[in-house]
């Protein structure tokens, strides 16, 4: 019984931590973007992209949690039998995307916020700022990938 608890704790951790990373990141970028918006409302399209970029970490956390749900067959209606060892394994497998998302989200938000300054001064070059901001995201992607591969590898029964 405890196995299921650990596994669900893993899925929840992935969504929560990656979600925090994204919210803080978008929060940082969004505040700076609003500053530019007050001066130049027409640049909205450009800076919207920069602002939503740190949002992907939250989605990665969500994807990972969904993989846990699929693996456990939670939506099938029957309560799966999971041993404690498997449950802890699932919990640990969720950590890469959780922490990768948490920190990369925050730092991506900071890079995006700085990128808003690029969009303000050189609107035509704002895509370059988007690419730079996406460099940070790489590590959330890697985290997600390892989480998924680990989840696929764990034998449930």
């Amino acid at each position: 019984m405890w196995g299921l608890v650990y596994a669900i704790a893993g899925a929840a951790t992935a969504v929560i931590l990656a979600g925090i990373g994204s919210s803080v990141g978008i929060g940082i970028a969004g505040q700076t973007a609003d500053g530019l918006l007050s001066e130049d409302p027409e640049s909205f399209g450009n800076i919207l992209i920069l602002t939503v970029l740190p949002g992907t970490q939250g989605i990665y956390g969500f994807v990972a949690a969904f993989f846990v749900i699929i693996r456990l067959g939670l939506l099938a209606g029957t309560v799966p039998q999971v041993s404690a060892a498997v449950g802890i394994s699932i919990f640990l497998a969720c950590l890469p995307v959780a922490f990768g998302g948490l920190f990369s989200g925050i730092y991506q938000g900071k890079v995006s916020a700085a990128g808003v300054a690029v969009a303000a001064k050189q609107p035509n070059e704002s895509m370059k700022a988007v690419i730079l901001s996406a460099l940070v995201e790489t590590y959330a992607v890697l985290g997600l990938l390892i989480t998924i591969l680990l989840l696929m590898g764990i034998k449930i029964q």
Binding site: V63, F66, M127, L145
Partner: protein, 663 residues
């Protein structure tokens, strides 16, 4: 198909025809004019002077016109978003433009707008003032006393003000108990305040104020008005009405100006081109009688420029190939199908003049990778269809047009990747009723690889793509070395890598017992050994010291980590592809859960499906574009691309509002 060849043009002529020459060149739009002083040898520039051209007059006119346009816009009916995209700019001939510039009374219109705006402001501020006054008097409207008479008399004190509505009862009661012979009028209640008028004898004044203070009474003083509040209010309201009428009249006047908007916009373009021309004139060199101009043009435009300038007789034109130490501007041309990918190259920066254009090299990779990141047949159709429709029905500028073309192509690859992974708006086909089961069979028969069920195979596929692009990048660098006749670099620094990269992979496959046989083992062993040996011995060939040489070789071999790290970076293709598929599946699952709810089930399902898939498409479209670009810039370009070219920026007619044509 590559970086364009450029030629240098030098023009020398009398100042009498300078204006005409510049006009002709601007209309041709094929020559980039550079600063004479900075680009000619000092012996020549000594003979010439540069002139500061005063653009103040044009600047002021442009300012006035943009003020007019912005002012008039306020009176326009708001256009729908789609409608505004569909609107093509007005086409105008030079002749007509000049006529407009002659006829349009700019300063009169400018002053007219300014006056109208100041009238608007007066009316608006007056309106707010009256409205505040109405708010002030409204609570007292039931008070049938002339305000002039509400003054302290010899025997009486009169106080008006507010208390909190909650304590009104207690307040009145206390007041009546404590102050004899008091008259309390509660005129109205507004926003939890009670408006009260109190009259008592002067002898009781102190008692009155004691209680007032105790109840946090806010005194209100009536000043400068006559008549009952009712009368004052009527007066104010009629004043407000007349102000509103005035505003309507002004609004109509403003709408009357709308007819001038189009002319104003044409004029804006006219003057901004004039300003551009004046700024360019300051790049020329001048003697007392002549001017000299220096510029760049594409070799293929040579004839057209010469033909265009033929009508001038008192002019000397020389068109030459650039010298070795000169850096011409850079422009790239590609075939119709590759040219949308120029957008990606330009995002990073143009190649330098003597480099090859990376656009055709990255195009197939970008096309494929984008599809792998998005992997959904349904999204591919929507993306391509959307881009196709907007290309046909909307008027788009050059940049957005290229982007739409690029996404149209990427939509096609997304479609095929989706078909091969069996993803059509996620797993929506699985939810269809069994009568449409044949669709499911068709879908399943087309699946080559399901990333959700078999992510490892997909991962290997992504890494193979990475290997191909990284290897190809080194190959391009070797090709560049061969072209530049750098044989040592080509054969001692690039070729070994081209052998070593697959060699090590073969070695791993042999060790992992995936490849069998002595032949493979031999090939793997010797290719790796020979190539790494070459690198170790020859990478440091510029060093005379043997230790320095071997050290550099060792360091070069360590580069192997970099190459394989680059290849691993392509695993993001799997992660992004999975993210799209999983979110699409979740959207479907949620949508079809609601379908059983009576009445609202079907609409709710439709809303979740449409909203969810649009969200998923938007967020993953951004991710696919950004990450696919990154793979080109960081993993691919670093192998061979230098960049740093300055974009060709010809002196041409540039417009913001209208489209100017010759005839």
């Amino acid at each position: 198909m590559a970086v364009n060849k450029f030629k240098k043009i030098e023009v020398l002529g009398f100042q009498s025809i300078q204006e005409e020459v510049l006009n002709t060149l601007q209309k041709l739009g094929k020559v980039q004019i550079v600063n004479t002083q900075e680009n000619l040898p000092p012996t020549t520039t000594e003979l010439m002077e540069q002139r500061e051209i005063d653009t103040k007059e044009v600047d002021i006119k442009l300012q006035q016109i943009s003020y007019i346009i912005n002012f008039i816009k306020k009176f326009e009916k708001k256009q729908g978003f789609i409608e505004s995209l569909r609107q093509a700019p007005e086409i105008i001939t030079f002749e007509k433009l000049n006529k407009i510039a002659e006829c349009f009374d700019l300063s009169a219109t400018y002053h007219q707008c300014q006056e109208l705006e100041s009238q608007f402001n007066t009316v608006h501020s007056e309106e707010t003032k009256v409205q505040t006054e109405i708010k002030f008097w409204q609570p007292w409207s039931s008070l049938g006393i002339n305000i002039k008479d509400l003054k302290d008399t010899t025997y009486c004190t009169i106080v008006a003000g507010t208390v909190e509505a909650e304590i009104e009862e207690a307040f009145v009661q206390q007041m009546e108990e404590a102050v004899p012979e008091i008259d309390i009028n509660v005129t109205s209640h507004q926003k939890n305040l009670s408006y009260v008028l109190l009259i008592c004898l002067n002898t009781n004044k102190e008692k009155l104020w004691d209680i007032l203070k105790h109840h946090e009474f806010q005194e209100i003083k009536f000043q400068g008005k006559e008549g009952t509040p009712e009368e004052i209010l009527t007066h104010l309201k009629s004043r407000l009405q007349s102000l509103k009428n005035q505003a309507t009249t002004l609004q109509q006047k403003g709408q009357g100006l709308l007819t001038k908007k189009e002319q104003g916009q044409a004029l804006y373009d006219h003057y901004s081109n004039l300003q551009h021309k004046k700024k360019i004139s300051s790049h020329l060199g001048y003697t007392r009688q002549t001017f000299s101009m220096l510029g760049w043009l594409r070799a293929k435009d040579e004839k057209r420029v010469q033909d265009g300038l033929r009508k001038f007789t008192e002019i000397d034109i020389a068109i030459k190939d650039p010298e070795n130490d000169e850096t011409p501007p850079v422009a790239i041309t590609n075939s119709k199908i590759v040219s949308p990918f120029e957008l990606v190259t330009k995002l990073y920066g143009l190649p330098h003049y003597k480099e090859l254009d990376p656009t055709p090299l990255l195009a197939p990779f970008f096309f494929l990778f984008f599809g792998v990141c998005l992997t959904d047949a349904g999204y591919g159709i929507i993306l391509s269809l959307g881009c196709f429709l907007s290309l046909h029905y909307f008027y788009l500028k050059e940049g957005p047009k290229k982007l739409m073309q690029l996404l149209f192509l990427c939509g096609i690859s997304t479609f095929f990747c989706g078909v091969f992974t069996g993803s059509w708006f996620g797993d929506i086909i699985n939810y269809l009723p069994s009568s449409m089961g044949f669709l499911k069979n068709i879908k399943n028969s087309l699946i080559l690889l399901d990333p959700i069920k078999d992510p490892i195979t997909f991962l290997i596929f992504a890494l193979i793509l990475g290997f191909i692009q990284v290897w190809f990048g080194v190959f391009v660098q070797m090709y560049k070395d061969l072209q530049a006749k750098e044989m040592q670099d080509a054969f001692l620094s690039r070729l070994p890598w081209l052998v070593l990269l697959p060699g090590i992979i073969l070695l791993m496959l042999v060790k992992g017992n995936i490849l069998h046989g002595a032949l493979w083992a031999g090939v793997a062993k010797w290719s790796s050994l020979l190539s790494s040996g070459t690198l170790l011995l020859f990478e440091g060939r510029s060093h005379k010291n043997i230790f320095g040489r071997l050290g550099t070789g060792m360091l070069a071999l360590y580069g192997i980590v970099g190459y394989y790290a680059d290849m691993l970076s392509y695993c993001r293709l799997l992660a992004l592809g999975l993210a799209t598929a999983v979110i699409a599946n979740v959207v479907n699952q949620m949508a079809f859960l609601t379908v059983k709810i009576p009445y609202v089930g079907i609409p709710a399902m439709a809303a979740i499906l449409i909203g969810g898939h649009i969200f998923n498409l938007a967020i993953n479209l951004l991710g696919s574009f950004v990450h696919t670009s990154r793979l080109q810039f960081i993993e691919f370009f670093t192998k061979f691309f230098e960049g740093g070219g300055k974009a060709f920026n010809p002196f041409a007619i540039q417009t913001k509002y209208v489209h100017i044509e010759e005839k």
